[in-house]
Amino acid sequence: MSLATMFKRNSLLDERSTWITSVVLIVGMLAVVVLHALPPDHAWHLNGSVVSLLGKYLTYMLLALAVDLIWGYLGILSLGHGAFFALGGYAMGLYLTAQQAPLAPWQAVMAHFPVAALAVILAPGLLALVFGWLAFRSRVTGVYFSIITQALTFALMLAFNRNEMAMGGSTGLTRFDELLGFALAGEGMTVALFVASGVAVLLAFWGCKAVTRSRLGRVCMATRDAEARVRFIGYRVEHVKLAVFVLSAMIAGIAGALYVPQVGIINPSTFAPLFSIEVVVWVALGGRATLYGALLGALVVNYLKTLLTGVMPDAWLFLLGGLFVVVTMFLPQGVAGLMAHLRRRREVTA
């Protein structure tokens, strides 16, 4: 098989993966909704807590998508994307608490949904803009960038732990009652949030796909592989990085905003450096620079986490660490890379 045909096949596979992923997402979402609608005594009935759990997975998948966009395509390893996720979450949390009694007078403005929705996107976006502008302008790259993103999320964790911030201190924001005038506790709300998360994942997947397939996406990959060359053919690398970093942070913020009403709490532990690293493990396991790999990785790892923390909670961190080692050593392209490899081998032997 010549390398030229291999390339053509790869790009075809890329196309195919897009619609396979879309179909799987849509069918999966419909299946969950239908199974939930079955009568409770039916053997296949999904109860509300399972739907809510799946909804939480969807927000994690959205976060993984954001990380893959900058890590997979631009080569920027952010170990602090949990910060953007948490900021979006806090914006939503402020909206939900402001429905009853805001913690501080200025938070009353967050009671309006359009304001809150704007804050969900703008808070992480602005932080990414300022932080990214400083970092990329000074040409901070590689492991140094990763370390300062860790510092960023850690600093925010300390800040949000303080009661003076009026963000609920170490308890965070909780005890939410209603969203857009509807009670949060109802089954209908559970399904609505699940569907909203699914739609968000689908839209973000298509959006990211469009970006990565555009000329800008190719500039990103070029920057990842040979940054100096990109600069010398006349692109402002720091602007490209900044734009994609801000987009990625906004997607993470939306993920956080959808996460909070489904789990019912947001607290500073979401800013913990460990959580951000875990997100990177999801993406590495699923396979970088494929987008569907990130979705797959987030789903698989979190499902395993739910399973294992129920059966033997102590073993989970060992398994997570082990998975990361195995993937780094034997599957540098993740599960997505393994699937592509197997497919090629089957075609060669056939």
Binding site: L3, A4, F7, K8, V211, S214, R215, L216, R218, V219, M221, A222, R224, D225, A226, A228, R229, V230, R231, F232, I233, G234, Y235, R236, V237, H239, V240, A243
Partner: protein
């Protein structure tokens, strides 16, 4: 007192010249002005790193359409000179002008690149994960702003330009291959092709035949000669046979400044040049050239 006044007066007159707009109002992307002489003009440029003078009072002019070869032993400052011209390194002293209108020392890399100076690195640097076609498309001259890049589509004109450049660099048959799987020589040509897509006025080419086979070297020599005339080309090279095959004017750099300049024969017979190369590994190369 009166002299200072007249100086000030002159500066004011210069500033308020009726035949041109103020400098700060002139469009930044104005075309390169070569009516008054060279396309590249370096004067008394010096730069030192930790006390080591990499470039020491370097003076160099390149004419429009010229093909110039620059040779010199390792550490003569060839790569540093290219770094200064392309905005990667700022000199401690001196002037660097592109045409008579653009001060290179006030611009950064993308600005200089968009102005029309293309640079090929010593090690072939192409985008390995992208196809040959995509490599050329990215390098194509055009609006480089983020939003425009996101919405950019390859038009008919662009496609023709890519075909044309592929023809020039001899990679028409490799259009859809990934750049990463090309041979070493093909990567070098692809990089030169990417420079051509930028529609440069001045090409800086660092060691284009390093690691090339004999036939590849011949093709590269042909390519270089073909490019000169349409644009100015500056080639830095170690290989004397290659320099001899393409050079019209040769500049010898030594310890950061120009040691000799002239035709290949003049330079190779210059006692100072022979002296510098004698004892060095490249002494035999120069004699081979004579």
């Amino acid at each position: 007192m009166s002299m200072m006044d007249s100086q000030r007066m002159q500066r004011l007159r210069e500033f308020a010249r009726p035949d041109r707009v103020f400098d700060f109002m002139a469009p930044a992307e104005s075309p390169v002005d070569v009516r008054h002489g060279p396309i590249l003009y370096l004067e008394d440029v010096s730069v030192s790193f930790d006390g080591f003078k990499a470039i020491d009072n370097l003076n160099l002019t390149i004419d429009d359409g010229e093909l110039r070869c620059i040779i010199g032993p390792n550490g003569a400052g060839k790569t540093t000179m290219m770094d200064i011209i392309t905005g990667k390194t700022r000199p401690d002293r001196g002037q660097a002008w592109f045409g008579s209108r653009h001060n290179l020392l006030q611009m950064d890399e993308p600005q200089i690149a968009n102005l029309g100076i293309g640079r090929k690195f010593q090690k072939p640097t192409v985008f390995e994960a992208l196809s040959v076609n995509a490599n050329l498309e990215l390098a194509m001259a055009g609006d480089r702003r983020v939003w425009k890049t996101l919405l950019a589509r390859l038009d008919h004109e662009g496609r023709e330009r890519i075909d044309e450049v592929m023809e020039i660099i001899g990679l028409s048959g490799e259009r859809d291959r990934l750049a990463g799987v090309l041979s070493h020589g093909q990567k070098q040509w692809l990089e030169i092709g990417m420079l051509l897509m930028q529609r440069p006025r001045l090409l800086l080419v660092d060691e284009p035949v390093a690691g090339m086979t004999e036939p590849e070297m011949h093709r590269t020599a042909e390519l270089m000669t073909r490019l000169a005339g349409q644009q100015s080309v500056v080639v830095v090279e170690h290989d004397m046979g290659f320099v001899r095959s393409i050079a019209r004017t040769v500049t010898v750099l030594h310890q950061g400044s120009v040691l000799a300049e002239g035709s290949m024969d003049e330079v190779a017979n210059d006692p100072r040049v022979i002296d510098v190369y004698l004892g060095g590994d490249e002494s035999s190369d120069v004699r081979e050239g004579t």
